[in-house]
């Protein structure tokens, strides 16, 4: 059951120019979390910014009762978050939304992330490993400096391949180029992806061509985060008449349901 909680910040670090990771204690929420779900975070106490901001579960330590978020500073909400210090409290609601479907039996899973879209794939990777899946991560970023999570995957003993636009680390080019040109198809049973829409579009195409089951995590502006305001509507297929609620029906959807 999602609830409201004040998380006690226990760690807050700048990983790259505009990327931060924050860990806080929120035991009641932590014990409910599943990969792919998100928290709705109040960035400040005044009326500007006003609304909460949705941020994916980047990692969860259920024993410790802690949750980590990985975020990129893009506007005033995320900018305000950077001001939180250890021992401050963060006002959160969650866990919200439908997370990733987890395989019942061990599978060979590919996780494709772009930019800060890598965030939910870390927690997903951890849980898949717990379920004895084989996990490969492909991560795209602008440059080596933006590849901030490789060590996380290494710790989890997950194969990590990277692609950078400027070639400063890993494959030079888009992560989808890496996927299409460098990876032998047929090896994966299941694909999860989160990142920019054009990237997810290509990943979904790849999965369709190779008949691989997969899920994508979508974004939409949100107000309530709980399915009450109907603000986060998304038409999944151009032919659909109705809209899905990204906050409640998603943010994770089956690749086949979505048209980019």
């Amino acid at each position: 059951m999602p609830i409201m909680e004040k998380g006690l910040v226990i760690n807050h670090q700048q990983l790259a120019q505009d990327m931060y990771v924050m860990e806080f204690l929120a035991p009641s929420i932590a014990k409910e979390c599943k990969p792919g779900q998100f928290l709705h975070v109040r960035p400040g106490n005044t009326n500007d910014p006003l609304l909460r901001r949705p941020l994916s579960l980047y990692d969860v330590d259920q024993e410790k009762g802690s949750i980590s978020l990985l975020y990129r500073v893009v506007g005033k909400g995320t900018d305000l978050l950077t001001g939180l210090k250890v021992n401050d409290y963060i006002d959160i609601m969650g866990p919200l939304g439908r997370g990733f479907s987890l395989p019942e039996s061990p599978k060979n899973a590919l996780l494709v992330g772009g930019g800060v879209g890598i965030a939910p794939l870390v927690y997903l990777g951890r849980v898949l490993k717990e379920r004895e899946c084989q996990v490969t991560v492909m991560c795209g970023a602008a440059n080596a400096g933006q590849l901030v999570v490789d060590d996380k995957f290494q710790q989890l003993d997950i194969t990590f391949l990277s692609a950078t636009i400027d070639g400063s680390a890993g494959y030079k080019g888009l992560v989808t180029d890496l996927l299409v040109t460098q990876v032998k198809p047929g090896g994966f049973d299941i694909i999860y992806t989160c990142g920019p829409e054009p990237m997810m579009d290509l990943v979904a195409l790849y999965a369709a061509i190779h008949h691989i089951w997969g899920e994508v995590s979508l974004e939409e502006h949100m107000a309530c985060g709980v399915g009450a305001c109907l603000g986060c509507a998304r038409r999944l297929k151009a032919s659909d008449e109705t809209y899905a609620k990204v906050c409640k029906d998603g943010p994770v959807f089956n690749m086949k349901e979505v048209e980019f």
């Binding site: 409201m4 500007d48 309530c224 009450a228 305001c229 509507a233 038409r235 109705t242």
Partner: protein, 312 residues
């Protein structure tokens, strides 16, 4: 919250033109779904009223996204009245709320006066509705899309038509996008309104400078949140001086002080809208603080201060 309304000396109950509320803090239409969405966070039966999402005769899919965007101390929404239609509301949502003993105010919207009347007729006799809020910020398709709420004659007619079909208290929700809100309020009263709900959203827009296009697919949206509070207070002040029916006040309420401002300009009860998104427990928090305020000030009923700031 329930034990609060059971306080011995302090009477929190409000009779809003026949809509009987256990306490003066309601949640606003469109910001609280059908109540259930917020059940994990707050005791919805303890709320003064849950004004459910606007209901139309037929199901509506709503507007394409983006539907919302934050603005300075506010937000714009252009949901486009997405809802499953009155039949689904009555058959699927209402029974649950009735069973949970939630005070429900239905909110209805139509394209024509006849549609409003038909929806009201469908709600007649349904268990668990305390009153009807009329969303008159809708375009009147027969009048070339002119909003019902901007023309006193249309306001009077739509209220009259709904009153004819229902035994429930009827509370039109006034649009603030008008030159003369008092004229509209008086027309609603003449039409037989039992109470007034004030205010709906201000019409606004935002531009995405990167794409050089309006942010909202619908171009225009309704502005809500703290940004509009001064306008809401002013309109309620003006209307309170002139009408004899009670007012449900709202627009940007975020805390008990805000709620007291509305009460002091004439609101007999208040509604929390956008504030629910910021803090799903806001309505309960405000109620508790109002109760504390009444204790501190030796008050038995909020009526003692309704309209106290208004110079008649």
């Amino acid at each position: 919250m329930k034990n609060i309304s059971a306080g011995q000396d302090i009477d929190l109950r409000v009779n809003l033109g026949g809509i009987l509320m256990n306490n003066p803090v309601a949640v606003a239409s469109g910001t609280f779904g059908y109540g259930r969405e917020y059940e994990d966070y707050i005791d919805i039966a303890g709320l003064g009223a849950v004004i459910v999402k606007g209901t139309t005769l037929e199901p509506r899919h709503g507007n394409p996204p983006p539907r919302i965007i934050e603005t300075a101390a506010g937000m714009l929404n252009a949901i486009g009245l997405e809802n499953p239609g009155v039949d689904v509301f009555v058959n699927q949502y209402l029974p649950y709320l009735f069973e949970k003993k939630v005070t429900v105010i239905a909110n209805i919207a139509g394209n024509t006066i006849e549609e409003y009347a038909t929806i009201a007729a469908r709600l007649e006799g349904c268990q668990g509705i305390a009153g009807i809020e009329l969303n008159i910020s809708c375009p009147n398709v027969k009048q070339g899309g002119l909003q019902f709420g901007t023309d006193p004659v249309m306001v009077k007619n739509v209220v009259q038509a709904v009153k004819a079909e229902t035994s429930l208290p009827v509370m039109p929700k006034l649009s603030p996008n008008v030159t003369n809100i008092v004229e509209i309020a008086l027309a609603a009263q003449e039409g037989g309104a039992d109470a007034l709900s004030m205010i709906n959203t201000l019409m606004g827009m935002a531009v995405d400078v990167r794409t050089r296009k309006p942010v909202l697919a619908n171009i225009f949206g309704g502005l809500s949140g703290p940004a509009i509070k001064p306008v809401a207070l002013r309109m309620i002040y003006q209307v309170y001086r002139e009408v004899d029916i009670p007012i449900l006040g709202g627009g940007g309420i975020m805390n008990a002080t805000d709620a007291l401002e509305f009460i002091m300009v004439g609101a007999a009860a208040v509604s929390i809208g956008t504030g629910n998104f910021v803090n799903p427990q806001m309505a309960g928090d405000i109620l508790a603080e109002l109760y504390y305020y009444m204790q501190e000030n030796d008050m038995k009923s909020l009526n003692e201060i309704v309209g106290i700031a208004v110079q008649k």
